[in-house]
């Protein structure tokens, strides 16, 4: 494959105190593709995701060894964490819209990064909401409380909020686990559209979802990568027995 590598992870070991959550992980994440991280609870996939935008920094007693190269630069040595998080956005499992208006939620990112012009903010808010397929539903009530939206709408608002800071990579931590099937399909459609312009890494517990939306799949077990490759290979032609067992639902 000749695709550009967005993230290059080498010998990554992450530990909480004495507990090793990730062990010697090596991975390439390809630009403008969707990479799905699957595995049973506690296997380290969320921990891995949060090393990519350094959200793990918030955890006390965390130890990170190895290298995480983003566009060739090590994000754990001399990389400005604010710049990193602007480029690598994140959508969380539980929608965490701010208790503000819809407009202010989307404008939050651009504002903290110094954009003051009302005209520019209006434009950014509209564009971001369109990218998150939410504009038509909320354009007449941008000043309403964001918490009045439905769960699915809130999650798309979180996505719009990420879009507003014009990231390069979007990380998603089980973005649909709290949503109904219709909202889930909407988010999945969005993921497929967004990969034209963004590199997406998604953690999911839902096998069908991984199969539906991703180009590459990585199977984690007990802090290690068991198998990774194109989603087709992982799902239809797994090499490791444990992968096959997990995918067919025999454990996990």
């Amino acid at each position: 494959m000749s695709e550009a590598v967005k993230f290059n992870i080498r010998d990554l070991t992450v530990s909480y105190g004495n507990f090793k959550a990730l062990h010697n992980v090596n991975m390439d994440i390809i630009e403008n593709k969707v990479t799905a991280l699957i595995g049973p609870s506690g296997c380290g996939k969320s921990t891995f995701l949060k090393t990519l935008n350094r959200m793990n920094d918030l955890v006390p007693n965390i130890g990170i060894e190895g290298r995480v190269l983003y566009d060739g630069k090590d994000i754990y040595s001399g990389y400005d964490v604010i710049t990193l998080r602007k480029q690598v956005g994140m959508v969380f499992q539980a929608s965490n819209v701010f208790p503000m208006s819809i407009y202010n939620n989307v404008a939050y990112g651009p504002r903290i990064h110094g954009i003051k012009s009302k005209k520019r903010l209006d434009h950014i808010v509209e564009e971001s909401l369109k990218k998150a397929a939410l504009w038509d539903e909320v354009k007449d009530r941008l000043n309403k409380d964001a918490l009045s939206l439905s769960g699915g709408q809130q999650q798309r608002l979180c996505l719009a909020r990420v879009m507003a800071v014009e990231p390069d990579v979007v990380l998603m931590d089980e973005p649909t686990s709290a949503l109904d099937p219709v909202s889930t399909v909407q988010i999945e459609d969005l993921i497929r559209e967004l990969k034209e312009h963004y590199t997406i890494v998604i953690v999911t517990h839902n096998m069908q979802q991984a199969a539906r939306v991703s180009d590459f799949t990585v199977f984690f077990l007990n802090g290690e990568i068991v198998e990774m490759g194109s989603t087709e290979d992982i799902f239809y032609n797994p090499k490791d027995k444990r992968t096959e067992e997990y995918i067919t639902g025999r454990f996990g």
Binding site: M55, G89, F92, M100, I112
Partner: protein, 292 residues
């Protein structure tokens, strides 16, 4: 059979709890009525406007008796406002530190120090004011030291624990997800605190200020010891001051007749103050919840 017994048992508990709740309400009602009834005779002889808007307070004079408490109303407002100017920024800053920046161990030590501060009797604060604050104020700003400023400083220290502990609870109760979302968008720690966490905690912070005001307006002993207690209109920060509470505490021991009723009426004014304050805080909280 057993189920029925259990049910009867429950209804007894309910009745007991209901009576307990009623007792509280009854206490408030009875105190209110008592204060009002005791104050009423005053207004047969003195007009309400003379009572509220005159600074002429000479309740024991035979020739020219005066029952105006305007100086004391203004005095109460001065020292309370002064205390807020000091305690609100300091208290909120401390709450932010405790909730967001300190290590768990440090938070525990500082938190218990704050709790201890709340437990000190007000007469001890008064002592501290007399021995330390009033002399310092005299030295630095002139006057006798027994002043609006000294009283404000002592009150500020006294209401700090209220503001700190309630604000801290409000800040800590802000969902972790807000913080994560803000940081993951590239916000700094400070931007996150000022733009997301504090606005989300605003109702609780306002409540802490409201309770602080309530305590400051109602405090008696400590301000009595450092305020100077001269029944005059305070003219500045170094001027002596008498508050509504000081007025009641000072004269109650010997007052009789009309004088005595005037003190109950002073208490009534204090009552209205606190009541308006509570309503104000509740209205603001509701409004804030709608706005953000």
């Amino acid at each position: 059979m057993l189920g029925r017994e259990k049910k009867e048992h429950q209804s007894y508990i309910e009745i007991v709890l209901f009576i307990c709740a009623l007792l509280c309400v009854a206490a408030v009602v009875i105190i209110t009525i008592f204060v009002l009834v005791s104050a009423l005779p005053l207004f047969k002889e003195v007009r309400l406007s003379d009572f509220l808007f005159s600074t002429h307070w000479l309740p024991t004079s035979r020739k020219d008796p005066g029952f105006g408490i305007l100086s004391f109303i203004i005095g109460s407002l001065y020292v309370t406002f002064g205390a807020l100017v000091i305690a609100v920024p300091l208290g909120i800053a401390t709450a932010i530190f405790l909730a967001e920046m300190s290590t768990p161990k440090m938070a525990e030590v500082l938190g218990s120090a704050v709790q201890l501060l709340a437990g000190i009797p007000s007469v001890i604060y008064g002592f501290f004011g007399v021995m330390v604050i009033a002399p310092k104020v005299r030295q630095l700003f002139g006057g006798s030291g027994y002043s609006v400023m000294s009283a404000s400083i002592v009150l500020a220290i006294m209401i700090l624990p209220t503001i700190i502990s309630i604000s801290e609870v409000a800040i800590s109760a802000v969902p972790k997800g807000y913080k994560e979302a803000s940081l993951s968008l590239g916000a700094s720690k400070w931007q996150t605190i000022f733009k997301v966490i504090l606005p989300a905690a605003r109702p609780g912070i306002l409540a802490s200020i409201g309770l602080g005001i309530g305590r400051a307006v109602g405090e008696t002993t400590a301000v009595l010891m450092v305020g100077g207690n001269a029944p005059i209109m305070p003219k500045g920060l170094t001027s002596m001051v008498r508050t509504l509470t000081m007025n009641i505490a000072t004269d109650m021991g010997y007052a009789s007749g009309l004088h005595r009723t005037a003190l109950f009426a002073t208490g009534g004014v204090l009552f209205v103050f606190i009541m308006l304050l509570n309503i104000f805080v509740q209205v603001i909280q509701k409004k804030v919840k709608k706005d953000i």
